[in-house]
């Protein structure tokens, strides 16, 4: 099992990034790692870009991922994947939700949403795994589980077994949402190979 790693979560306020990073942190803790996670509250949550840094290893000091060292980027929106390019290295894996959320300048018609922007990653030989997390979540009957579907997709790149994630969901999610979240996790995990 990999002895340390850096997972960066990015997206737009309100997409459930904090829960996704929390589930991942618990899975790494259950696997016996030291973990630190950094997030920003306040102004950042009003629809702006949101990021969470998760680091695990035998002993973690810095709560922030150093530029060029994110092993996995879990991006909940296309632009928010490309925005974090300086954090990536040539062996990074990027799991990206293909949803587009228009930034204000685009919604106002002042700028255009860049087309084929994921090419900026693939042209640099970065491994990109794209999925429509919203569709995956709808397929299990609850569109609001898109964030957990993303965790499922990401879990393919971690040594932690999927059972650990399912146990974490069992232990941390409210009873009425447990089963649907487990299904979302499994569907997200399967979607990457599909």
């Amino acid at each position: 099992m990999k002895q340390s790693g850096n997972i960066l979560f990015s997206g737009v306020g309100g997409q459930g990034i904090l829960l996704a990073s929390e589930l991942t942190a618990h899975a790494q803790l259950a696997a016996g790692f030291d973990v630190k996670k950094s997030e920003v509250h306040g102004m950042a949550q009003r629809g702006g870009s949101v990021e969470a840094h998760l680091r695990y290893g035998e002993k973690v000091y810095s709560p922030l991922i150093e530029l060029g060292t994110a092993d996995i980027l879990v991006a909940f929106e296309i632009l928010e994947a490309v925005r974090y390019l300086p954090y990536l290295h040539k062996d990074s894996a990027v799991v990206v939700n293909t949803q587009k959320i228009l930034p204000p300048a685009v919604a106002l018609g002042k700028m255009v949403y860049p087309e084929n922007i994921l090419d900026e990653l693939t042209s640099r030989q970065i491994k990109v795994v794209a999925l429509d997390a919203f569709a995956v979540a709808e397929s299990v009957g609850e569109p609001r589980t898109a964030n957990v579907a993303m965790v499922g997709a990401m879990s393919n790149f971690l040594a932690v077994s999927p059972e650990v994630f399912l146990q974490v969901i069992e232990a941390t999610v409210k009873e009425q949402f447990r089963e649907v979240n487990k299904r979302a996790f499994a569907a997200g995990r399967a979607a990457v190979y599909a």
Partner: protein
Amino acid sequence: MIFDSETKLWLSGNEAIALGAWEAGVTVASGYPGTPSTEIMGNLARYEGVYAEWAPNEKVGLEVAIGACFAGARALATMKHVGLNVAADPLFTSAYTGVRGGLVILNADDPQMHSSQNEQDNRNYAFAAKLPMLEPSDPAEAKEMMARAYALSEQLDTPVLFRITTRIAHVKGVVEKGERCQVPEPSIAKMPAKLVMLPGNARVRRQAVEKRMEVARELAETLPENRIEPGTGRRGFITAGVPYNYVKEAFPTAPVLKLGMVWPLPERMIREFAASVDELIVVEELDPFLELHIKAMGIACHGKDIIPNQGELNTFIVRKAVEPDSIGALFAPIDLPMRPPNMCAGCPHRGLFYGLSRLKDIFICGDIGCYTLGFLPPLSAMDACVCMGASVTMAHGMSKALGKSGEGRIVAVLGDSTFMHSGITGLLNTVYNNSYASVIILDNRTTAMTGHQDNPASGRTILGNPAPALDLEQLVRALGVKRVIVVNPHDVETTRKVLKEEIESPEPSVIISRAPCVLIPEEARRKKPVYFTHLDNCTGCSLCVQMGCPAISWTPLTPEEAVARGYREKQKGFARIAENQCAGCGQCAAVCKFEAITRKEAK
């Protein structure tokens, strides 16, 4: 939680500090919400045996904590960095009185200004107020250090400043759980020579302050929180707080002097460490605080000559500053449309700022809260913003400077919580000194920006229990305001008319713009209609788009595309509502003149 065990918890720094305060036997705590400090009080309030409250501002909060400590309790005051400016008056004199029960002042700095209007370095307060200051490096240490802070406070008879930064407050890590210590029994004890700070007594206490700092300096030499971590190599680092982690990551084998107490400093320990290395580098965020005092000892060191004095540090910045040649190639950032924060879909503030944005030639004095986002395009309806409550007072000052030429052009805008924090005295001044400035209170029934804390007007305590709710109309009338008008900001047309009338009025007026924040639970649960666009009717006037609602977007059209869609050739585009994002406020429908936006009732 799967990780919860008998001894270990997964906690944010703020949760860890609340736990640390509880374990240290705190029984009274008071504070005002402020990112990144807010969650400490919310968490502490839920512990058995602790009374915690939201105060209307930080000065009130600190004075409450001082009172509790005078009664022999261990007390905590919490605030963000700029809050300590508000609380600076009691802070400086509490250094003279000292304490009975332990008193800790939790101060959260915000390097990088993630959610703040400045990035002042409050370590300077420790120096200026002559108070010991502790600073942890991560959540686990933050929890442990709370116990030390209370012990020092009582041992040295002084309030203790406890500084954290955003990367403690909102970082989660593994924390060791402990036991609650023996809680001191409160009592009344009269100690006038120590507690009554009139000049005769204060001159005596002034000397006690200096003696205490001498003792503290000596204590710093052996405090376990100040430690030398031996290493190899000729280069050594002195660091404290979060930057310690970046030094450890970038230079894992280098010798490090880690300071847990950042004021006063252990001079002998610093000298000993400096003598043991060929090159000494001080790594600290923001001001050269440690560096200046170390240089004042006559010790040569690097500091702000290589380490930035603005913004947050991180491992990359520290590595690059110290060993620029060791940095490998990175992928360069791609130029992308920015995604700044925005007022939510359905936000009541939008209706009010839309109204203001339509008024020509006015100057809008803004304030601190979600509504500061009214500054951003397309509304662009804010012309100044300085600090909590300053909207009201700046507007008055402008009216006095401008005289006749400013009549009908000056308006202040602030939130309900901000008004109670420090707008009330400003409004009193506006009335007393006969101004014409109008004041708009955005009453959304909560303290929204920091995460929906209750406040004196919300009718609930920190724990959600019923509390007397301030009647804002009665209060502003009692201050002497004769023109008091309440509007519903979702009623865009009426709001615009009222704004025009009141701003033009030659006497002070208060407009209370009242509608609940869409994110408060009652409101979020409420079944709401949604609005949708009849694309056939859209003429591309873009009035709705100009409200800047995140649920509304603009699709530009070429003349050919316009014709193909059945629009006039000249139509530049059309607006569309994303129904899954619409919060049903109806403001857009109110401004649409072409019946292109229609309401669909809640199912």
